[in-house]
Symmetry: C2
Subunit: 341 residues, 2 copies
Amino acid sequence: MADRVHVTLRDVAMAAGVSLATASRVLNGTAKVREDLRDRVEAAASELAYTPNAHAQALVRASNETVGVICHDVSDPYFSGIARGVMRAAAQRDLLVMLASTFRDSTREVAYVSMLRAQRARAILLIGSGFEDRGWERAMDVELRPYLNAGGRVAVVSRHRSLRVDTVLPENREGAAALARALLALGHRRFAILSGPPGLSTVVDRVAGFRDALAAAGVTVDQIEEGPFNREGGYAGASALLDRGLDATCLFAATDVMAVGALAALRERGLRVPEDVSLAGFDDIPVVRDLTPPLTTVSLPLEEMGERVIALALRDGSRGRRRIERVPGTVILRASTIGPP
Amino acid sequence: MADRVHVTLRDVAMAAGVSLATASRVLNGTAKVREDLRDRVEAAASELAYTPNAHAQALVRASNETVGVICHDVSDPYFSGIARGVMRAAAQRDLLVMLASTFRDSTREVAYVSMLRAQRARAILLIGSGFEDRGWERAMDVELRPYLNAGGRVAVVSRHRSLRVDTVLPENREGAAALARALLALGHRRFAILSGPPGLSTVVDRVAGFRDALAAAGVTVDQIEEGPFNREGGYAGASALLDRGLDATCLFAATDVMAVGALAALRERGLRVPEDVSLAGFDDIPVVRDLTPPLTTVSLPLEEMGERVIALALRDGSRGRRRIERVPGTVILRASTIGPP
DNA sequence: GCGCTATCTGAAAGCGCTTTCCTGCGGTAC
DNA sequence: GTACCGCAGGAAAGCGCTTTCAGATAGCGC
């Protein structure tokens, strides 16, 4: 048994007593080969458990079968929902997905793009909002532009101020506005907001949409708390609000994950949801319907968004003009929101 | 601006007026190069936005910077928790992770291993239990053996009957047994079990451990329902149990995800947890503590397991004997379990 | 000033594959 | 029987890189 050495096409060709060219042709079905030769090559290949070296193939074909996906955190249900859609679509096309988590570190994000570029990935998908930060934008541009020029494909989910690429755009602003109107309709007039880190477009848009819709009804919000985009952020934010004296009948968290944390904080302080305070989130990640009370939120078709973003990146005629696919959010009123006490 | 063409080392070398060898040496820092030449090369590289072709490097170096991870479903919190640990550790080592979801299709799993082998991935990590199925075992062996012989590294999380490779082994059996004893201590004597698909070692072990511990106390379980390993499986299983007339004071679901579904089913039928029936799961995925009531479960350090499995795969002296790292589970009693009514 | 060594640079080989180009073959038409 | 065509298989080039090997240059002692 061969040890520590890869079986190459040359081995297969020799074992079959044919030339490299013939072996390659048989294995790829690129040209007609006399039947007995073909059989011998196939037998040799399976005998030796031959697997073509994908790097050599990628090198000579100048294309390859991988797509890169960059998200903030795989264990965040928002991203893993989208990633699931990407993977499903990728599997259908026999593509391999390289998934990277940046842990919200913009430096790492740029580094990953660079690695993916080195891999000559067929496409790079950026999931999650961009950083509204000049330095990041410049660094990203430096990596992405040559990649695009070399024929690479890039598509993103969420708004990126500086990236003029194909986009799947959740209607964060409109969704948040619709949610605000629904909450107004329930009778709420005093709101507090749990916002994510500043500089993330998703947060910015949601908060802006929410506030604008309220403003249109003559309602202003002055209790806003910022925190990291995770359960702890929601928990800490809600706690801070409570410490300061919550002056609202309804709390809006910019993401469901934060809402989950907020719910825990509220409950710990003895506030009942929704009797004492209503709570709403955004995204409709799977778990929120299993909370008690189930969470009011704006639903986004996460898996579908994943499928759409990869389709966008891989579509033909991609050199045409930039395409933006808007994904509307649907307000889902559940038991976590009722009229004000 | 160059269009549709990659900048190669040759371009950099020419622009800098040096040979390929020198350019390569500068960029890799492999040897001393006269300062002015070095500066020129570096200037040219950044000017041209040069990125080395990772495939060419992998080809000549016969090694590369990617590790493959295969799991059943990224959007399952159990897997994404482990994946998070893997990614964190991979980032530290400057490795790129190729993550594949099999959607529990054993054929696809084998296909992914083959692709990863073609990529000459430095290591392949299998997360999630193996299929106890002769055909799958044989097919997997055919792919993995040549990979291992060629110096590839493989490590797994969970028990795989046929794979004699480095393993991170959650103590499913012992954990479930400990949980059973804790529930017995609460006074329960009549149990029902929600099991996953047969042939998955994780399920088999958990159910066996649970039953054995009960048996040791003279308690038998005859209400067992099998279903898919997800929320719907738990929901359907619990519903089926209810339809048939649930004869138990405590329900054990083989995974937390299933328990979540079961909780919804129970509640829909008007059964209160824990007053009417206690409910316990396994894994301690993040969401369960936010349920109402918070779920009793067996806690597994998911992220740490991910870090350990990649460390195992990448460790030196890996040609030594197989290593098995056992990961104990910790019983966490929360409000979803109380004494029997 | 000569010979020797220590450094650094460049030429070239080769990683494993695909694909072009070319050769040699048998078959057809005259 | 000769000339021509079509086709299948082999030799070889080349994808972009690293690294060996040899050559060039400078530095040193005598």
